[in-house]
Amino acid sequence: MKPAPFKYIAASSFDHALALKAQYGDEARFLAGGQSLIPAMNFRLARPAVLIDINGLGELAGAGAAEGGEIRVGALTRYHVLERDTKFLAACPLFADALPHIAHPQIRNRGTIGGNLSHADPASELPAIAVAMQARMRIKSAKGEREVAASEFFQGLLTTDIQSDEMLVGIAFPAPTARTGTCFMEVARRRGDFALAGVAAIMTTDAQARCLQMRLALCGVGETPVDASAAAASLIGQPCTGEAIEAVAAEVRGMIDPSGNVHASPDYQRHIAGVLTQRAIGAAYSRTGHAA
């Protein structure tokens, strides 16, 4: 099994990479970790005419706090780098929950944040986390740069807002505020498989331990990551009782439309999405530091 022939160009600089993409457009794909693209090419589901290898562009890698209380992650940052970055994980505990679920150690040694998000697999963890965290996707082309909210970035199955001459160069999101708790949970058939359903929950409470703000996003249950924050609106201003959280789970079960797959029927996916919603909200609440 091998990919169809293509032209390989190792980009010598960031500007070179963007110039090549402007030149070749949809014919070309960027090669980052290659952990989704190369298998698709091995199966010949993807047959790009040109591969622009960006692995040499170190300036695209790295994560950390930037000005204005926001956290930035470069597109070429590999999962395993984040897994070992205790400072980053302490600031973004959602990633600490989610990273071990992403495939296997060998894949995490190569796979990149930007590659994952550009690939936009709806069963993948990171798109849902980006939506939950209200990340801004930083996009550049030879002509300029722009930012798109994660909720608008994911447009459909494996489809994003990135245009043919553009590259996702990184993401930025606000650093969590005080009294914020987060949790990511998923169910997969085997360790490292894509999730049958996964839930990312971010809750901020007030000084009386009432829910002040709630972000909720799901993976694996639609053609894009699902922003279910509206389903949690009933929690705002309320103490987080078991009944209140169960009401949110019921709302989530009603709003999603999973397609089912070889491992799970749509009803089963809906059921586990509800169970995970309950558990993730409960865990996020307890991590705000207020729960009894």
């Binding site: 290898d53 150690p105 060998q106």
Partner: protein, 163 residues
């Protein structure tokens, strides 16, 4: 159309190789067919089974999910480099032998490469950590139990041998 070729130079198990490779040649195929290092096995060729795991600059990766041209200027290790020059097995290999950690042996090179890197990074793993580290390598013969036993024993041997 003449296939486009790239000159590459890389190190495998300490030996430098120079070659001209087609863009689409997978690293796994390059190791096996061009360098004739057929110890790296090829199973699923889409990143699921782990049989083709090698060390790329010291880190375990799937060689079927990389292009040979991407290895230009990098240092690779394969199963052929594990035993020393006198043929004495690496402690991880010896433990697999002692604990019957393989039957058909097809998955074994990938497991050896994954776990030598893991034990270097985590010399005193729990059983759970060993199972987690093994999660990216499929074995259909052993049921994993003997592999887990072998890795815990190898960790102990390597700790005892460490200065």
């Amino acid at each position: 159309m003449r296939p486009e070729r790239h000159d590459i130079e890389l190190s495998v198990n300490g030996t430098t190789y120079r070659s001209a490779v087609e863009s689409r040649t997978l690293l796994s195929d390059f190791l096996r067919h061009d360098l004739e290092l057929a110890g790296t096995h090829v199973g699923c060729e889409h990143g699921v089974c782990g049989a083709c795991t090698i060390l790329f600059d010291g880190a375990p990766v799937r060689s079927c999910l990389m292009l040979a041209v991407q290895a230009n200027g990098h240092e690779l290790s394969t199963v052929e480099g594990l035993a020393d020059s006198n043929g004495e097995l690496h402690p991880v290999q010896q433990a697999m032998h002692d604990h019957h950690g393989l039957q058909c042996g097809y998955c074994t090179p990938g497991i050896l490469m994954t776990m030598t890197a893991f034990l270097k990074q985590n010399p005193e793993p729990s059983e759970h950590e060993v199972r987690e580290a093994l999660s990216g390598n499929l074995c259909r013969c052993t049921g994993y139990q003997n592999i887990v036993d072998a890795m815990l024993a190898a960790a102990q041997t390597m700790r005892a041998a460490a200065p």
